[in-house]
C-alpha cells in the first residue's frame, strides 16, 4: 500500500500549473466538439452499419489534434501523455462517439510507437495523426484468450519478409481500419507485422458488437508481409504489446467514466422531471439513495483514474506496477459503469427499456467497453497477481 499523500500532489510546481492549463484547454475543446446530442444521434444511426463510423468526424478529430495526442512531435503528433489523452477519451465516452479512437490511436498506435521500426513509424504515425490512416491491432486468436503473449499465428520467414498463417478475432476498430497490426510467432519470438487493408481483405469478416459497432475477424493463409513492414521484432514486440495494452485499459476506463457520468446526468434529470403520484420521482427516498450510491461509484472512478494517471507519469514506473494500476482502474470503471447504466435503465422504468431512449445506448456501450480487453473479474485477478504478493506467496 502506498502513502495516502502521494508525491504527485506536492507543492505546486510550474510543471503542474502548465499541465492543469493544458488539460483545461483540452477539456474546453473536447466539450465544444461533443456538445449537444449530435454524436449520440450519429452513434444511433450508425448502429449495425459498416464500417460504422464517419470519416468526416475522424478528420475533424485529427484536426483537433486528438489522434496525434500520444504521437511524438517528430512523427507529426502533439507529443503529450496519457493524462491529456484521458481527457479526450472521457469526452468520447460522454458523447458515445462511434469512432474507434482508443483502439486506433492508443492500442494500435501504441504498439507502433513502442515497436522498433523507426522507418515505419515515420511512415505510419504521421498519417495516423493526420487522420488519413486508421490502424487496428489484431492480437486475439480465440474469444477465450486473455494473454496477449500467447500467440499461435505463425510468421514464416521468406526471402522478402514473412508469410502469416493463422486467424485473429474480435478486432475492435477492425471494421474501420485501413490496415492491421498482426501479432505472430516468428522463429525468434513474437513479432508484430503491418498488414494494409488490401492485403488483409480476402480473409476479413465482421461481427456486430453489443453497441452496434462492428468487430473484424481475420483468417490468414499465407498473407505476405515485406520485411520493412515488421512493426516490432522479437526484441521489442512483447514489451510494446504489454505497454499499449495497459494504456488502452486506462483509456477505455476514461471512456467508461465519461459515459457513466453522462448516463447518470441523464438519469438525474429524469428523476427531477418525471412525475408519478403527484411528485417528481426523484423525491422518493429510495430512488434518492440509489442515485447517491451511483454517484459514489462515479466519484470513486474519477479519483481513482486521477491517481492512476498521475502514477503513469512517473518515468521510473515498472511494467508490473503499471499493469496493476491499469487493471485496478479497468476493474473499477467496468464494474461501476455497468452498475450505473443498468440502474439508469431501471430508474427510467419502461421508458428505459425502449430502444429509443438514449440510456440504452449508454448501457450497450458500457457492455462493450467493459468487456473489451477484459472485464472487472479478469482485471481484479490480474491486479491480485501483480500487486498482492501475499496471495501468490
Amino acid at each position: 500500500m502506498t502513502d495516502s499523500l502521494p508525491a504527485a500532489s506536492s507543492e505546486d510546481s510550474a510543471d503542474s500549473g502548465e499541465l492543469q492549463e493544458r488539460l483545461a484547454l483540452l477539456r474546453n475543446s473536447a466539450s465544444r466538439y461533443t456538445a449537444g446530442d449530435v454524436h449520440v444521434k450519429r452513434a444511433r444511426a450508425l448502429r449495425g452499419t459498416q464500417p460504422g463510423f464517419d470519416r468526416d468526424a475522424w478528420r475533424q478529430m485529427a484536426e483537433l489534434g486528438w489522434l496525434g495526442t500520444l504521437i511524438p512531435e517528430r512523427f507529426g503528433g502533439v507529443g503529450l501523455g496519457c493524462t491529456e489523452m484521458a481527457v479526450i477519451c472521457e469526452a468520447l465516452g460522454r458523447a458515445l462517439l462511434p469512432e474507434p479512437v482508443t483502439a486506433a490511436a492508443v492500442l494500435a498506435g501504441g504498439v507502433l510507437l513502442y515497436g522498433d521500426n523507426e522507418t515505419l513509424k515515420a511512415e505510419l504515425a504521421p498519417a495516423l495523426a493526420a487522420g488519413t490512416l486508421i490502424p487496428a491491432l489484431a492480437w486475439r486468436e480465440s474469444v477465450h484468450d486473455t494473454d496477449m503473449l500467447a500467440v499461435e499465428t505463425r510468421a514464416e520467414q521468406t526471402p522478402r519478409g514473412v508469410k502469416l498463417y493463422g486467424s485473429k478475432c474480435l478486432i475492435i476498430g477492425g471494421a474501420a481500419a485501413d490496415g492491421l497490426i498482426v501479432s505472430a510467432q516468428s522463429s525468434g519470438g513474437i513479432g508484430l507485422y503491418w498488414v494494409p487493408g488490401a492485403a488483409a481483405a480476402p480473409g476479413l469478416s465482421y461481427r456486430e458488437l453489443p453497441d452496434g459497432r462492428a468487430s473484424a475477424e481475420l483468417v490468414m493463409s499465407g498473407v505476405e508481409v515485406p520485411a520493412a513492414h515488421c512493426v516490432a521484432g522479437p526484441g521489442a514486440a512483447s514489451a510494446a504489446l504489454e505497454r499499449a495494452y495497459d494504456e488502452a485499459l486506462v483509456m477505455a476506463s476514461a471512456e467508461l467514466l465519461g459515459l457513466s457520468t453522462r448516463a447518470l446526468e441523464i438519469t438525474l434529470e429524469y428523476l427531477r422531471t418525471r412525475v408519478q403520484f403527484g411528485k417528481p420521482i426523484g423525491s422518493f427516498q429510495a430512488l434518492q439513495h440509489r442515485a447517491a450510491d451511483l454517484y459514489i461509484q462515479q466519484r470513486m472512478c474519477r479519483h481513482s483514474l486521477d491517481e492512476v494517471l498521475a502514477a503513469l507519469q512517473r518515468p521510473d514506473l515498472a511494467a508490473e506496477e503499471r499493469g496493476a494500476l491499469a487493471s485496478r482502474i479497468k476493474a473499477r470503471c467496468s464494474e461501476a459503469s455497468l452498475r450505473i447504466t443498468r440502474d439508469a435503465i431501471q430508474m427510467h422504468g419502461a421508458m428505459g427499456f425502449a430502444d429509443e431512449c438514449d440510456v440504452g445506448l449508454y448501457l450497450k456501450r458500457a457492455l462493450t467497453l467493459a468487456a473489451w480487453l477484459g472485464g472487472a473479474l479478469l482485471h481484479r485477478r490480474r491486479y491480485a497477481r501483480l500487486a498482492l504478493k501475499e496471495t501468490t506467496a
Binding site: C169, I345, Q346, D355, E356, L367, L377
Partner: protein
C-alpha cells in the same frame, strides 16, 4: 368431456407432458423473448383443437375448468418444456376471458368468448400511459359517451403485442371529479376502428413487442363497456390468483440458470473455484425461490387468498433472475461481445440477450420499488 379435476395428479401431469412434448415445436423451446403471434400460432391452434386453449376458463365457456392445483401442474409442465407466451396464451385468453366471465354481460360473453377461445380475435391490454406507469390510476385517456358510443382520446403505451392484435381492452377516464381510482371505465375496442394508430416500440433487446396506441376520437359502442360506468378500476384490478402468481414463477430463473450452466461448461468454469462459489450461491437462491413459489402455489391449491405478501415472490423471482443473467454476462467476458443474439449452436451461449430481456422484469409487473412499498406498508405495517 373430461373431468380433469377428478383425475389423479400424476396421470394429469403425464398427459399434459405427453401432449406438449409431442406437439410443441422444438425450435420454439426456451425462447429468450416472446415470439410474434404468427410464429406461435400453429401451436396455439393445436391447443384450440385439443380443447386446451383456455385451461382456466369454466367448462361451460369452452375452458378446461381446471382447479388451481391442476392449473399449476399445467403451467408447470409448460414451463418445464420451455413453452412460449407465458404459459396460458394471449391476453385475451389469459386475462380478458376471465374478466368477462366475472364482470361481463351475458350478451358480451356470448359475443366475445368463442372468438377469443379460437384466436379469431387477438387481444392486447391498454393500461399504461406516458404519464401513468407505476401510478396507473392517474391515467388521462378520456372517453366521452356520445349517444350509444364512447369517443376515446389519448395515448396508451407499453402495450404488449398490439402489432399482433385485432382488439384492445383498455381502461379510460370517464369522470374527473372524484378520487382518481373512481371515474375509470373498462372498454373494448377494435383496433381497426378509425382514429386508432399502433406504433411498435423496439426494446433494448431488439424485439418489437411493446407498442404505443394513439386514440384520436376512436369510437366504440356502449355495448363494449365491461362492468358499470366508472367501475373499471375494480374490473382491471381483479386478477385471479394464478394470473398473479404467473410472473413470480421460478421458470425464467431456472431457464437462465440452465444457460449459465451451459456457458460454464463451454468455458470450463467449473474448474474455477471463484466461479463455483458464486454459482453455488445462485443455485441456492434459485432453490429457495422455488420454495417460496411452492408456498404460494400451495395456498392457491388450498383455495386460500393471496395477500400483499405475494410481492415477496415477485421481488425474489425478478431479482434472482437478474442476478443470474448479470453473472452470466460477467463470466462470459469478451466472449459476450461476439455471440449472435439467441445463439446456442456450436455450444456458444448468448449471454447478452437474456441479460437485456431481463432488464424488464423489475419494471413490467410493477417496479421493484412499488413491490417494496407494498411490503413495507401492507405487510410490515410501517407508517405511510
Amino acid at each position: 368431456m373430461h373431468d380433469w379435476n377428478n383425475m389423479n395428479d400424476d396421470d394429469f401431469r403425464k398427459e399434459v407432458r405427453r401432449f406438449i412434448e409431442q406437439n410443441y415445436p422444438q425450435d420454439l423451446r426456451f425462447l429468450p423473448h416472446r415470439p410474434r403471434f404468427s410464429v406461435i400460432k400453429p401451436w396455439l391452434m393445436l391447443l384450440v383443437e385439443k380443447g386446451w386453449a383456455a385451461p382456466h376458463w369454466p367448462v361451460q365457456y369452452g375452458g378446461m375448468g381446471l382447479s388451481p392445483r391442476k392449473l399449476l401442474i399445467y403451467m408447470d409442465e409448460q414451463g418445464r418444456w420451455g413453452v412460449a407466451r407465458q404459459f396460458l396464451g394471449e391476453a385475451g385468453v389469459v386475462q380478458l376471458g376471465p374478466m368477462l366471465i366475472r364482470f361481463g354481460s351475458e350478451e358480451q360473453r356470448a359475443r366475445l368468448l368463442p372468438k377469443i377461445l379460437r384466436y379469431e380475435t387477438i387481444w392486447c391490454q391498454g393500461y399504461s400511459e406516458p404519464n401513468a406507469g407505476s401510478d396507473l390510476a392517474s391515467l388521462s385517456t378520456e372517453a366521452l359517451l356520445d349517444g350509444d358510443e364512447f369517443a376515446i382520446n389519448g395515448r396508451k403505451i407499453w402495450t404488449s403485442s398490439a402489432l399482433d392484435s385485432t382488439h384492445m381492452f383498455l381502461i379510460v377516464r370517464t369522470d374527473k371529479t372524484g378520487k382518481k381510482q373512481q371515474g375509470i371505465t373498462f372498454l373494448l375496442l377494435d383496433l381497426a376502428t378509425p382514429g386508432v394508430t399502433v406504433r411498435g416500440i423496439k426494446n433494448i433487446a431488439g424485439t418489437t413487442d411493446y407498442c404505443e396506441v394513439t386514440l384520436d376520437n376512436a369510437r366504440t359502442a356502449r355495448s363494449n363497456m365491461v362492468g358499470e360506468l366508472n367501475q373499471g378500476w375494480t374490473v382491471s384490478r381483479n386478477l385471479l390468483g394464478f394470473e398473479r402468481i404467473n410472473t413470480g414463477s421460478p421458470r425464467r430463473s431456472e431457464f437462465a440458470f440452465k444457460r449459465l450452466e451451459a456457458l460454464a461448461r463451454e468455458r470450463g468454469l467449473f474448474k474455477d473455484a471463484g466461479f463455483v462459489d458464486r454459482y453455488a450461491q445462485l443455485a441456492l437462491d434459485l432453490a429457495d425461490l422455488k420454495a417460496v413459489y411452492v408456498h404460494f402455489a400451495d395456498l392457491l391449491t388450498r383455495g386460500e387468498p393471496l395477500g400483499p405478501d405475494l410481492s415477496v415472490l415477485q421481488l425474489l423471482s425478478s431479482e434472482t433472475n437478474q442476478r443470474i443473467t448479470e453473472f452470466m454476462l460477467e463470466v462470459s467476458g469478451e466472449l459476450g461481445l461476439t455471440v449472435a443474439p439467441g445463439e446456442t449452436q456450436n455450444e456458444r451461449v448468448d449471454a447478452l440477450t437474456p441479460f437485456l430481456v431481463m432488464r424488464a422484469v423489475t419494471i413490467g409487473a410493477g417496479t421493484s420499488e412499488i413491490h417494496r412499498n407494498i411490503i413495507s406498508r401492507h405487510v410490515l405495517k410501517l407508517p405511510g
